[in-house]
């Protein structure tokens, strides 16, 4: 009964490095999302996916890439990390047109 699992929980990157944030869900949800939360701000949508093989941009996609090769996994790739990408990243999933999301516990990323 894991729900949405995110790894790692914390990470420090140097400017220009790359990394992948992992997200997996075991609820057979079609829809998956990546959000970022900056201090004092709401959650902003980065990318989303409505099913395996289908992804689309959200409000703040620049500097990120995603893939969705399976229903369960939705990794978020950061290329050439910048200080502006310092944030807490949340992955979420939902059943199609369901009443809400199930969130993971977040990844706190610092770019120095």
């Amino acid at each position: 009964n894991a729900g949405v699992t995110q790894t790692p929980k914390f990470r420090i990157l140097k400017i220009g490095q790359s990394m992948t944030l992992q997200c997996a869900q075991d609820m057979n949800h079609n829809y998956m999302y990546w959000y970022r939360q900056d201090p004092g701000m709401g959650l902003k949508l980065i990318y989303y996916s409505v099913g395996a093989g289908i992804t689309d941009k959200g409000e703040v996609p620049n500097g990120y890439n995603v893939s969705r090769s399976t229903t369960e996994d939705f990794p978020l790739r950061l290329e050439l990390a910048a200080p502006s990408q310092t944030s807490v990243y949340f992955c979420a999933s939902s059943y199609e047109f369901s009443y809400g999301y199930t969130f993971g516990s977040g990844t706190r990323l610092t770019v120095v």
Partner: protein
């Protein structure tokens, strides 16, 4: 451009009293609204929701009120308990496309024992 706004960053309430958290939205296409609760170092968890065809939805100590003409909703917690201390996010969507949610900036509720 923030389509969902929570203008009060924080709220303190005595235990046993009512907590009222407010939320405003600008997009008239929004027709489904949700409240999420977030503890430190955890992801948000779903609390309660309301469809635009209703003006009130109640679940135990939690009640959400929707005023569509004012584009305003509120969450009432009665009675407030110390365990309710958390950040509360209002969210909205138009239930089309990818079920994307738009979130407010959150209100930190502190319930004082």
């Amino acid at each position: 451009d923030q389509q969902v706004k929570q203008n009060s960053p924080s709220l303190s309430v005595q235990e046993g009293r009512i907590s009222i958290l407010n939320c405003d939205y600008t997009n008239s296409m929004f027709d489904y609204f949700l409240w999420y609760k977030k503890y430190p170092a955890e992801g948000p968890t779903f609390l309660i929701s309301i469809s635009s065809i209703k003006d009130k939805n109640e679940d135990g100590r939690f009640t959400v009120f929707l005023n569509k003409s004012a584009k305003h909703l509120s969450l009432h917690i009665v009675p407030s308990q110390p365990g309710d201390s958390a950040v509360y996010f209002c969210a909205a969507n138009d239930q089309t496309g990818a079920n994307n949610l738009f979130f407010g900036t959150g209100t930190r509720l502190t319930v004082i024992p």
